[in-house]
Amino acid sequence: MSEIKKIKNLKEFSTSADRVVGANLLCPGCAHSIIVREVLNATNDDLVISASTGCLEVCTAVYPYTSWDASWIHIGFENSSTAVAGAEAMYQALKRKGRLLQPERTPKFVAFGGDGATYDIGFQWLSGCFERGHDMMYVTLDNEVYANTGGQASGATPLGSSTTTAPAGRVSYGKKRHKKDMMAIMAAHGAPYVAQVAPNKWKDMVKKIQTGFQTEGPVFINAMSACTTEWKFAPEDTIAISDLATDSLVFPLYEIIDGKEWNITYRPKNIIPVRDYLGAQGRFKHLFKKENEYLIEEWQKRIDSSWEYLQRREESRV
């Protein structure tokens, strides 16, 4: 087992040696690069990284350039999980056969996928990897939309969000269904560690990523990635929007250990109304029309009941 990297403060953390460099094509204000840096900077170990087709991939590896100072692979939209699982299998094989090039190293295997890649098209591959128990971490960059292709609805798109494939219009309020509970689904796979993180709560995030790296077996991380382009807010407001998400409990921060130990890791001092979170984003603008206002109430009820559920699960320890 490798040593846990000691991180004193944000200044030191933010100036750690970067293995994904700022020279990339992501939108100004994109949370992806913040999250990826927070994941990569949480360890000093070598990394084998995979990325699903999506914003992160098309913006960081455009030939003849690469933003990655770490081993990196992209195959397709659906299989970043299996790509890194294959690499992990090769590591195990070469370790057993004594053929590792640098046998003293203790690499970590990390797959990144957007919510479309995770909740929708790549779900089977992800599920298979977790059933087989590869020693890997899967990180969802959850911006609740197919952002790379221009804002189509995914299985993670929340109720009432306007997307290009489920737009709000004269007779429609946008997405008709709530997002999947991916955290519970992955915990139900028997994963030893499942956690939800947000880039604005960097200490919470680093702790969880480091726990994940110390955990043997498949680790699932759902990272909220506020999308300036598709959520429609100003690029400089990414962290402010992220604060609204965590403080309204739309994105509660918690972890699930071995499927049964649920821990809430962030309890906002002042819980803000969901209305404030929705109102800060263009994708929900139409919900504030009179005929749609009931949906804001429905949102609040759902978030209240989810928070209640989380707390009961935390207490029950079953």
Binding site: A61, T66, S71, M90, Y91, K97, R132
Partner: protein, 406 residues
Amino acid sequence: MADKMDLLDVEVWDGNMAASQAFRQAQIDVVAAYPITPSTPVVENYAGFLADGYVDGEYVMVESEHAAMSGCVGAAAAGGRVATATSSQGFALMVEVLYQASGMRLPIVLEVVNRALAAPLNVNGDHSDMYLGRDSGWIQLDTFSPQEAYDLTLMAFKIGEDHNVRLPVMVHQDGFISSHTAQGVKTIDDDTAYNFLGEFQPFNAMLDFEKPASYGVQTEEDWHFEHKARQHNDLMTKVFPKIDEVFADFKKLTGREYRILEEYAMDDAEVAIVVMGTSVESTRIVCAELREQGIKAGVLGIRVLRPFPMEKIAAALSGVKAVATLDRSSPNGTVGMLFNEMSGVMINATERPIINNYIYGLGGRDLTIEHIRGIYGDLQENAKAGSLQQPLQQFIGLRGPKLSFY
């Protein structure tokens, strides 16, 4: 360390067991696989070897063929020897990742036990899956018997893994007729077989942390074409010399001779059949019979489908008067692939043979000796008349009214 297996000089193996044994002897580092008829026994046998300690690599039993090839790509990019097996629908599900594997220049070996593609659903052998893969940038080796499945599967690693080649290789065998038909297979002992391949030599391995590599990057109109052109150029120029070299080494080792184009009685042939898979052997039987009757018949067996040995074919067909191309895949709206390829090869020749096309054996339908005699009969008519005497395309062994086109 995996245990060695004592093999008899001649083992009774079907094509699937022959492929599994080649996999075992190659000491593959990662097999990621998903079972499908008729290739299932390849991975079942391999799992049995693992369970008994004859394999010490990783065996990842994934949840689909797409994941099988995805895992193979990740493992191969990490830097080691990788292989899997599939058929038919599984092959079709893999197709997306087949292009990724070749585009990333990863020398994966894929045993394709050929089977028909649905609908209607059919588990028997034809070449529609093999044809589906022919533009995927892989090297495609075709075998005609379990012995050849064993030999070519071993050689596939040596061909694809060469640092000048670095391309994935499919080894094809006919579903059931080869895969499930036990024959005497001459074996190579474990050490000799492994030493013939040698230890895998990594190239831009993801597990080399001193030299991190990015795999599967984006290229648009500025660079995509150059990558594809370079891959094609390497297929056309670097693969044949390597195959020749490996075939020569293999002959030295075993006495068994393979050629890029398997010519049978072609030297002075006037009528010739071009065919693939187990039907090559049936066609040779009829050809020998015709030779005894003084008919100048020949057989061209396609050993290497991709890259396609155009120059060798042009030379072999030079002087032949009539050629039949036998395709075991529904052309669905045009002529068969082999007809197209042969026509393309011969179009600029000074003496062009008359070429026609037969579709046969779909979904495992038998191609009988009598059918092949009939085809040679057509060819003799065409050769004598100096022009095509039948429709350009005919279906062989089909129930109901005789279908033919053009």
